[in-house]
Symmetry: C2
Subunit: 337 residues, 2 copies
């Protein structure tokens, strides 16, 4: 990659983050020992509660695929150590120490999706249909949560590898049903709404990926966002406007499953199974799909090569040593055949 | 800590972040090997460019304390791998791939503050006067940057330990002069301005720390913020309203130096020298101090015990397993005498 290119500051239209692209940063030395947190595949198979046959060691099951069989492929279960509790009342109170600072009771749902019965299989090992099945399980659970009036937003996410925050190595993702619309979502919707009011168009529909394109499927395309916060960050975007992830039908789920699998395989092959996160960015529940011409759901994949530092924590700006055009070119060319 | 306390969702008045407090999360098991990135004190002394006598291996010097002596205590130097460049023009252009997305040239300043000539000394090993001297060096450099019309905000921060992002182990911090006001600052100022317009008072002046108080000095106090994103996060706040860090005078610098040293020693003793970041949250340059009755600078310290995951990246909400009242009580009681 051209290390002489001058740095640039780009601002992101969706999340309104500022990102500094600087190739000089890629050449920094370090006098710390490598801290790569290796993913001990299989190491704890014998005691893993997510493995088939150990269902009794898990918190209660919500749904399984296929239904009513001991030979399941996917299970959605309650998180045994939930951040939010489904069994308490939703209410608010004032905090004494800070005038007007609000406190809500921690009502909400926190589920785990076990993506495979087998300990050593990871998401990208599944077929396109297999990954599509996981996406459909997400949708089924979102539709259940939709019927709860107190839930306003659902955050679907995956942590893979210890440096991406995972505490369990068996392939899984998580679904949290929140009684509030979280800050990132509020900001994103506000940005997209302002843009819509100005242009009459959805800002995400208007993206022309050009040299930022990685791959395409029938209903989706993948690209490096023009102001990627992290090197080799990938967005998978539905071609046609859709505000809510749970609008995904079975055909599109398999199509998306294939593209998601391809992106994960490319990252894994190119960077030797790096830790990563993925996040589904959807729209809040209270909004009817037809009312959200400005909000377009997408899936974000972030490989984790190094942690952030005080600059990012303090300013909310990111420093990315890899220009998006160069990341996209590299990812386009990875051959996983 | 009471593990039966129900979870709570608190929202922060300053940054407008939502934080879920859940003691259940503290009990999660992990099947990954420990990933603690040990800080190899002294291990690379012999090749450290920040050590006294190796000044020629560093990028150019900006200032040293005391001035014009080879027996220096503090040096401010250019970063050899700068994210922003001081030698390019500041200008903007449009990006083809995304209509209206802006790109600025990466003009700006990126400096390193070497806090001690000695490799094995860390910031909290210095005396209160010594730490105060580092704060005064920050101020001197900020005052220099103030004279550059293109600089709008200065982010001062420190990374300590590899898991807090540090690539160099010799005690140092960084100063970045930015040609834009970064997103976190814009949000913070907007929140504080709205509050000021409603109440006629500065929201930070109005904080009554109560059971969240940790320690106090003549001009500052330290507390755990009521919606701390991270366990044992600490804010050090000037008692009297002040919008800009660079208003700090020499007497207050020593006073702050003593309290900062005390907080870092408490963290180090209680948690065995954990990685941490600190960030100075000040006000943009263009605003005259007298025009900012709503913006109150402070210093934030964040010890890094574990990384964040997809939930935080996706939603901007944090999950904190330690309630602020309990963190403050523990930190109040750490005996560093
Ligand atoms: N027997 C069992 N039955 C049911 N559930 C079980 C279980 N044993 C463990 N679990 C749950 O399984 C989940 C596994 O999740 P991950 O490995 O993706 O990350 P975790 O949530 O631990 O934290 C990461 O993700 C969160 C959210 O992003 C961050 O807050 C955090 O810092 C980061 O480490 C845990 O939440 C755990 O509580
Ligand atoms: N001989 C020399 N002369 C002058 N300067 C020298 C030098 N040798 C090294 N440097 C500079 O010294 C600095 C040391 O900084 P830190 O150890 O605090 O973290 P770093 O900036 O590497 O990255 C961390 O902080 C940044 C900002 O938060 C994050 O983007 C990043 O992910 C995280 O790892 C580096 O910026 C490096 O460029």
């Amino acid at each position: 990659m051209a290390s002489t290119r001058n740095p640039e500051i780009r601002s992101d239209i969706v999340f309104n983050k500022s990102v500094i692209f600087s190739t000089a940063r890629a050449r920094r030395p370090s006098d710390f020992k490598s801290t790569s947190a290796t993913f001990n595949r299989g190491s704890s198979n014998s005691s893993c509660p997510f493995c088939i046959g150990r269902e009794h060691e898990c918190a209660p099951e919500i749904l399984r695929v296929p239904r009513a069989t001991s030979d399941w492929k996917i299970r959605v279960i309650e998180n045994l150590y939930p951040a939010l509790r489904r069994d308490i009342e939703f209410r608010s109170r004032e905090l004494d120490s800070v005038p007007e600072a609000g406190v809500l009771s921690g009502f909400g749902f926190h589920d785990v999706v076990i993506e495979t019965p087998t300990h050593d299989v990871c998401l990208s090992d599944l077929s396109a249909e297999g990954v599509g099945g996981v996406l459909i399980a997400f949708r089924e659970r979102v539709l259940q949560l939709l019927s709860n009036e107190a839930i306003q937003y659902v955050q679907i996410f995956k942590n893979h590898g210890a440096s991406a925050g995972a505490s369990m190595s068996h392939s899984h993702s998580q679904i949290m049903g929140l009684p509030v619309v979280p800050p990132t979502v509020t900001t994103r919707l506000q940005n997209m709404k302002e843009r819509y009011e100005k242009t009459g168009k959805c800002g995400v529909c208007e993206i022309k990926p050009g040299e930022l394109l990685i791959d395409e499927s029938s209903h989706f395309y993948s690209m490096v966002p023009f102001a990627a916060c992290f090197p080799f960050e990938i967005w998978i975007i539905p071609r046609n406007h859709s505000s809510h992830f749970h609008e995904l039908d079975s055909e599109k789920a398999v199509d998306l499953g294939g593209l998601l699998k391809l992106m994960l395989r490319k990252l894994s092959q190119q960077f030797n199974d790096p830790p990563f996160n993925f996040m589904v960015h959807t729209s809040p529940f209270q909004a009817k799909p037809s009312h959200m011409p400005h909000s377009h759901w997408f899936l974000q994949i972030v490989p984790q090569f190094f942690g952030i530092g005080g600059f990012e924590m303090g300013s909310g700006c990111y420093i990315n040593p890899v220009f998006p055009e160069e990341a996209a070119k590299l990812l386009r060319e990875v051959d996983v055949s």
